[in-house]
C-alpha cells in the first residue's frame, strides 16, 4: 500500500514570529535510506521532522515525497508513521488496540487487523504483552509498543523523534542495534532525529547536520567525521570532538604555540586560521609540539589526555600501555593529512 519513500526538501523556511527556526533547508533522502537529522537542541532538526510529518506547515518552500508536492497535504494523508520521543501511546487502550489503531483508521477488515497486529508485535518482541495497558509496561516495552504501532501500517516513511532518549544507557545500546536491523529488514525509509552524534554515526546511512536553523553538511557518517564542513560540526562530531586551536598559516605550515606543523591543506598566502586536530590523530614523537599532561581519563583500552600546550588546551587519545604520567611533559605531532584548516571569520572549512 506504500510507495517508495523518497523525500526532498526545497528551500524550507520556518518563522516563529521574527525568529527563523529554519533558514532555507534543502536535502534529499533516497528510498530505503536510514537518514539522521543531527544537531544540538534548537538547531531546527525537530522542526524539520514535524514539517515532513505535516504537523507544522513551513513558512516558505516545498516538501516533496515520491516526487509529489505534499506541502499542504494533511498529516493523516501523507502515509507516514512516526515514533514520538514520549511514545504518545494511548493510555486507555491495550497494547493490541494501540497497534491496531492505524489499521482501524485505514478501515482494514477485522480479519486482517488481528494477524497484522500479532506480526508487528512479534517483530519487536512484545507479542506476550498484547493485553496490557501502556501504564503496565516498562519504558523499554512502551518504546517497542510505539515502534510496533509505527511499523504495523507499512507506511512509506518512518519518522523517529529521539526514540531512544528516554531509555537507560544499556537498553539504549541494545535498542539501537535492533532498530537498525528492523529498518533493514523492513526496507523502509527512516528519518531519525537525534542530538546524540554517536547514535547518528552508528545508525545512519547518511546524515544532515543542523546548526542554528541551517544544514551545514550532508553526507555519510564517515564523510562527516573525516571532513567536517565547519568549526561547529568539527566541535560537535566525535567523542571527544576535534581540538580547535587558533594558529597561523604560513606556506604549507601551521604554527601552533610557536611550533611548526606540516599540513596538506592549503590556503592563500599567510593568514590566521583555526586548526582542527582529532584527538585520535595525534601522535607522541620527538621534536613535536611540547605539552604538559594535566589530566588523564583512563577508559580501559584507551585513555584521553588533557594537554596544556603553552596555554592552549588539547585533548589526545592514546592506546593503553602508552600512557604517560600526570605532570609529564611530552612532545606531540600529527600527520600533514590529519590537520584540518578552518576560517576563523566564516567558521567554514578552508
Amino acid at each position: 500500500m506504500s510507495g517508495q519513500g523518497q523525500v526532498s526538501f526545497r528551500n524550507i523556511v520556518k518563522m516563529h514570529g521574527e525568529f527563523a527556526a529554519l533558514k532555507g533547508v534543502n536535502f534529499d533522502i533516497k528510498p530505503g535510506e536510514f537518514f539522521a537529522l543531527l544537531g544540538p537542541s534548537g538547531s531546527g532538526k525537530s522542526t524539520t521532522l514535524r514539517i515532513l510529518a505535516g504537523l507544522d506547515a513551513p513558512t516558505a518552500g516545498r516538501v516533496l515525497i515520491d516526487d509529489k508536492d505534499v506541502t499542504s497535504t494533511d498529516a493523516r494523508d501523507r502515509d507516514i508513521a512516526m515514533v514520538f520521543q514520549s511514545y504518545a501511546l494511548y493510555p486507555h487502550m491495550t497494547v493490541a488496540e494501540n497497534i491496531a489503531f492505524p489499521l482501524e483508521m485505514a478501515k482494514l477488515p477485522k480479519s486482517e487487523i488481528a494477524p497484522a497486529v500479532k506480526d508487528a508485535a512479534r517483530k519487536v518482541k512484545i507479542d506476550h504483552l498484547l493485553h496490557r495497558k501502556p501504564g503496565q509496561l516498562s519504558g523499554g516495552q512502551q518504546q517497542r509498543c510505539a515502534l510496533a504501532r509505527a511499523i504495523v501500517r507499512k507506511a512509506r516513511l518512518f519518522l523517529l523523534d529521539e526514540p531512544l532518549s528516554n531509555l537507560d544507557a544499556k537498553l539504549r545500546l541494545e535498542t539501537r542495534a535492533e532498530l537498525k536491523k528492523l529498518q533493514r529488514s523492513l526496507g523502509v525509509t527512516a528519518v531519525y532525529v537525534t542530538h546524540d552524534q554517536e547514535e547518528a554515526m552508528t545508525l545512519a546511512d547518511r546524515m544532515a547536520v543542523f546548526m542554528s536553523g541551517e544544514i551545514q553538511q550532508v553526507g555519510t557518517p564517515a564523510e562527516v567525521f573525516a571532513r567536517p564542513n565547519s568549526i561547529d560540526i568539527a566541535g560537535f562530531i566525535g567523542n571527544p570532538p576535534m581540538n580547535l586551536v587558533p594558529a597561523r598559516y604560513v606556506d604549507g605550515d601551521v604554527i601552533i604555540a610557536g611550533h611548526r606543523l606540516k599540513t596538506t591543506a592549503t590556503t592563500a598566502g599567510e593568514r590566521d586560521v583555526v586548526v582542527g586536530l582529532r584527538p585520535g590523530a595525534l601522535r607522541m614523537a620527538e621534536g613535536g609540539l611540547g605539552a604538559r599532561v594535566d589530566l588523564i581519563e583512563d577508559l580501559g583500552d584507551t585513555a584521553v589526555l588533557d594537554l596544556d600546550c603553552a596555554g592552549t588546551m588539547i585533548r589526545m587519545r592514546v592506546a593503553d600501555g602508552n600512557i604517560p604520567g600526570e605532570g609529564d611533559t611530552i612532545s606531540i605531532t600529527a600527520r600533514p593529512q590529519d590537520i584540518h584548516l578552518f576560517d576563523p571569520a566564516t567558521r567554514m572549512r578552508l
Binding site: A53, G54, L55, D74, A75, R76, R78, I80, A81, M82, F84, Q85, S86, A88, Y90, P91, H92, F101, P102, M105, A106, R149, R153
Partner: protein, 279 residues
C-alpha cells in the same frame, strides 16, 4: 509523643465541631420529617418520639402531591445536563487546543459570566422569556440554566483537556485519524473522569436551583425546590411535610455525592490548581 497526641485530640475536636455544624440541619430535617406536627412544635424539642411516615405519605400521595414537581425537577436537571455537556465538551476542547481569533476574549467571557450576581439579571431574563412566551416552560428554564451551567462546565473541562499531551493527538493524526475521530477515540476516553465530575456538578446545580425557578416557573412547570414553599404559608408552616419534601429532594443529591465522591474531590482540586495557571 504527647505533643503529637495533643495535636490529634485538637484535630478531632475541631473536626467534630465542623461535622456537627454540617450534619445538624440534615439530622434535624430527617428527625422532623418523621414527627407529627405537634411533636415538631413541642418545646423543649423531643428527641425521643414515636416516628411516623405520615408526612411522607401526605407529600407523596396526598392532595398536594409533590410527585409532579419531582418529575419537573428531573426533566429540568437532566435536560440541562445533557444540553450543557453536548455543547461544553466541544467548546472546552476548542478552548484548550485550537488557536483562533478572540480566544482570549472567549476565555474571559466564560469566567465573567460566573461573576454576575444572579439577582441582577432575574428581571431581564424574566422579560426576555415573557416576550418569547417561554415563561413556565421546560425550554425556558433549561435555557436560563444553560447560561450558568455552560460557562461553568467549559471552565471545569478545559483543565482536563489541557492535561492531555499534544503529542497524543499528533500521533492519532499520523495514524490516519481525523480531528473528530481523534476527539472521540483518543481524547474523550481520557477525560472521562472530568466529564463525570462536570455532569454531577451541572446536575446538582440545576437540581438545587431555587432563585430563578421561583421567578420563571409557574403552575405547569414547578420544580420541587419551589413546590416546597407550598408548605409555608401566612397562617402556618407545615414543618413535618416541609422536612419530608426536603429529605426527598436531598436524596438524589446524596446518592450522586456518595457515588461520585472520589471524582468530585479530584475534580475540585484539578480546577483549583489548573485554573490559575491557564494559558
Amino acid at each position: 509523643m504527647s505533643a503529637k497526641r495533643l495535636r490529634i485530640i485538637a484535630l478531632l475536636a475541631i473536626s467534630t465541631v465542623f461535622l456537627l455544624a454540617w450534619a445538624f440541619p440534615i439530622v434535624w430535617s430527617v428527625l422532623n420529617s418523621l414527627k407529627t406536627d405537634s411533636d415538631v412544635l413541642a418545646y423543649p424539642p423531643k428527641l425521643v418520639f414515636a416516628p411516623t411516615l405520615e408526612a411522607y405519605r401526605d407529600v407523596l400521595f396526598g392532595s398536594g402531591s409533590i410527585l409532579p414537581n419531582l418529575l419537573s425537577s428531573v426533566i429540568i436537571s437532566v435536560g440541562t445536563t445533557i444540553v450543557t455537556m453536548l455543547m461544553a465538551v466541544p467548546a472546552a476542547y476548542a478552548l484548550a487546543r485550537l488557536r483562533f481569533r478572540g480566544k482570549k476574549f472567549a476565555g474571559f467571557y466564560v469566567l465573567a459570566t460566573q461573576m454576575l450576581p444572579p439577582v441582577g439579571i432575574i428581571i431581564p431574563y424574566f422579560l426576555v422569556l415573557r416576550n418569547i412566551g417561554w415563561i413556565d416552560t421546560y425550554q425556558g428554564i433549561i435555557l436560563i440554566y444553560l447560561s450558568f451551567s455552560l460557562p461553568f462546565a467549559i471552565w471545569l473541562l478545559v483543565s482536563y483537556f489541557e492535561d492531555i499531551p499534544l503529542e497524543m493527538e499528533e500521533a492519532a493524526y499520523l495514524d490516519g485519524a481525523s480531528r473528530l475521530k481523534t476527539l472521540w477515540r483518543i481524547i474523550i476516553p481520557q477525560v472521562r473522569g472530568g466529564i463525570a465530575v462536570t455532569i454531577v456538578f451541572v446536575f446538582l446545580n440545576a437540581w438545587n436551583e431555587f432563585l430563578f425557578a421561583v421567578v420563571l416557573s409557574g403552575n405547569t412547570v414547578r420544580p420541587v425546590t419551589v413546590a416546597m414553599f407550598n408548605f409555608v404559608s401566612v397562617e402556618q408552616t407545615l414543618w413535618a411535610k416541609l422536612a419530608a419534601v426536603s429529605v426527598l429532594a436531598m436524596l438524589p443529591v446524596v446518592v450522586l455525592g456518595v457515588v461520585a465522591q472520589k471524582h468530585i474531590v479530584k475534580g475540585l482540586t484539578v480546577g483549583a490548581v489548573k485554573g490559575g495557571g491557564r494559558r
